[in-house]
Symmetry: C2
Subunit: 515 residues, 2 copies
Amino acid sequence: MIGYNIIGKKISALNDKTIQASNPKNQEQLEGEFHVATTEEADEAIQKAKAVAREYANLPSSKKALFLRTIADNIEKLSSKLIDRVVAESGLPEGRVTGERGRTCGQLRFFADKIEEGSWVNAIVDRGDVDIRQCLQPLGPVVVFTASNFPLAFSTAGGDTASALASGCPVIVKAHESHLGTNNLVAECIMAAAIECGLPDGVFSSLNGAGYELGSYLVKHPDVQAVAFTGSYGGGKALYDLAQSRPHPIPVFSEMGSVNPIFVLPQAMEKKTTSWAEAIASSVNLGAGQFCTNPGIIVVERNEFLTAFSDQLVDAFSRLQAATMLNKGIHANYNKAKYSKSQESGVKIKYIEIDDDKASLSAHPCLLEVSYADYSKNPKLSQEVFGPFTIMVVCENQSEMKEVASQMEGQLTASIIGEADEIIKANDLLEIAASKVGRIIINGMPTGVAVCEAMNHGGPFPATTDPRFTSVGGNAIYRFVRPVCYQGFPDELLPDALKEANPLGIRRLENGEYK
Amino acid sequence: MIGYNIIGKKISALNDKTIQASNPKNQEQLEGEFHVATTEEADEAIQKAKAVAREYANLPSSKKALFLRTIADNIEKLSSKLIDRVVAESGLPEGRVTGERGRTCGQLRFFADKIEEGSWVNAIVDRGDVDIRQCLQPLGPVVVFTASNFPLAFSTAGGDTASALASGCPVIVKAHESHLGTNNLVAECIMAAAIECGLPDGVFSSLNGAGYELGSYLVKHPDVQAVAFTGSYGGGKALYDLAQSRPHPIPVFSEMGSVNPIFVLPQAMEKKTTSWAEAIASSVNLGAGQFCTNPGIIVVERNEFLTAFSDQLVDAFSRLQAATMLNKGIHANYNKAKYSKSQESGVKIKYIEIDDDKASLSAHPCLLEVSYADYSKNPKLSQEVFGPFTIMVVCENQSEMKEVASQMEGQLTASIIGEADEIIKANDLLEIAASKVGRIIINGMPTGVAVCEAMNHGGPFPATTDPRFTSVGGNAIYRFVRPVCYQGFPDELLPDALKEANPLGIRRLENGEYK
């Protein structure tokens, strides 16, 4: 495997500097020397994207849909070659990786269907003394930063790329250092699809980079129009600040950290002790806890069922398997953070293992406990630990549970677990929690983000930098467009979405009525 | 008139410091001592807004709609008392002010109708193994900065306030120093309407302030969730930067400067010389040129019709009447800027008058001319002059006209004037221009922004700080909301918009189909 950069329809390796990927399970170097993109290569990728932006935007949706489906087909054709590389680079189990490939290809086809149907452009027609029409148009070149924890579904051909390409924007991907080979394989699938579909040269590029240099160059480039990022708060906020300090600020959609609290009400603790304890423990340990929606805080009320519930949780945690984490940095940070939290004032260790095996990057789940009194005094305890970690906050009453919700920062999700009656009575808690999150869940775990029209994978800052948009689900496409209004246009010059005869057959708002 | 601040349902004047408004036509002080809001008063307004945000959001739409309609009724009841004060404070003619009042009340009723119909919340229902639903929810307290040039329609009860209140957000208005009395009268109408409709105490407040102190306090306040502003680039960008540097950044919708180029194609110049020259001159001088959509650049091709067209323009400009500008600062800046531009290299004066009457703030329109060669070398010439000013850029060919479009910064609008055939052939110019603007107009003037669903009054930076949203038209409401996803909810706890039986009878996307 030669790790070229991909710039439109060509491969490029101007830089002698190369980087490698390693297997987190044994720290062995994996095949492939990946050439770090030079500034010239990055600029060329953006210039090509800019040059073809209008042509790509104007292509019929059927052609863009074919492109997305061809990418999915090409990814599937790689078969075990891709799966093996992802497993080797991520340490994730094969079953999970196969599932993630399905999700990735499913997303590509989901957006293909969506743009082929076409109504997403929000066409509005007002026929009056003056004829005024409006629809959405793509912003232009989008930079996508790939995520460490989803080498396929939130990476090279993941949801950001799929929705940006679907919206009509060219995409420049910055590969993640942890899965350079995966990126290379998938980027080749996209390049091949662009060639097979006869697309203009520059709708997609993929660049290898180490550290912040390439990323900040891309975000500051005047011809980049939007940025999508999934990762840590530090990384996402730094890119956001960089973009806002440009002479011409651009939108940055950073999906960052979240502790996704689960509030467990008393009757649920009493009546379904074991099943909820098992569900929570499994959710905490899923994918070695390396999910944006990992539940990092469990909020309970001190009552006669607490001991049994707590014991069941500990039992469930002790039966969970250790798993390999994504890379050395994540593994080291997880162990440091869980140990450090366990030493905070008032914190009790319920289940912990020292995971000092730096060869295998293996990590066990961790369960801590703290009273609301101690929790509320210590802001550190509400901060995310990336990994299979959770802390149980024990409140003296429901009013303290509501305080946890009131005091929490913006989150991707919050969950309420309860029996039917008590859920109804907890409406106030539900409303407070809903005001802080992008998705509120009753009697379910936050992990597992369905790709559907109603999904919102986003939330108030600091969960994301823009709570008005989602990075998963149909509405993810709206991150990369803006409305353009056409006044007094002759029919033949209007975009097809707005032509009088509605040749696309899409749903439109015409003189105030949906047609 | 005693110029109190209005904080929810009470009036407040803690500060001894007062400011006054003056009549731009004669510089006389107008009745009224307006108490500048203290930090305590500003904080109280925000705390009240925060305290009632959830209660107001949860009110049925019919109640919010009644509130908006009652505001409109109360404004109309003020009758000549309001009109006289606006005329006295703004120097605008009575006819224009009466029209603007109609627009203001029309907007309030437009949003009342929109929320009563209810489909705007974009309800999505996905029934599957897991039940996932989504709709839009209000962000919380919104700060509205009122505009100098529209004392009613973009001010206290203008489009920003109307759309924010319609979305379910409480509003805190910062009054404009030029029309403190107008603000006071209208704010009283809103306070009275809130009391008449039995709304919670804090859905609306109005604060008087001088300079930047109050404004920056409001934008930095941690409980403010969004900001709307209409005004200069300097003011709008400063508020944007302030909001982005908060620990918790918030959206700022600044609608700022724009030069709104008009491209005139050759056949139109030949065949409709007089009518287009008259239309352009009138548009430039409308409201003393104090419109965001004022056409500040006219782009033409040098040809045999140019002299006749130019002569007609000069003739039309010479017949236009001078008008009073909004305040001393605007009048002084206009005269300084038009003189300064007239002295730039290669610029020819076609029509200019020295407007040095500082007593009446009277200003004549100004027409300059420059070749594309000189224009393209001098970035100053593409900058906005706020007032009845335009500069004609003479290109040697259509390719230079396209260059003007390619090089221009983001604009609210661009217009193309042409006969049917040449418009079709100018598709490339149209597309370039469309990529830079929020609204593209064929054979019409940019001034006159219709309040309708298809309107987009926005555009790429620096025309606004967020090109994805409009400040006029139905979609203005989307600035103040974010999606919230409800997973696994029992029907009775869902918002009405998402309940299984669709009790609001709104249009929803259900399992991928619009119902």
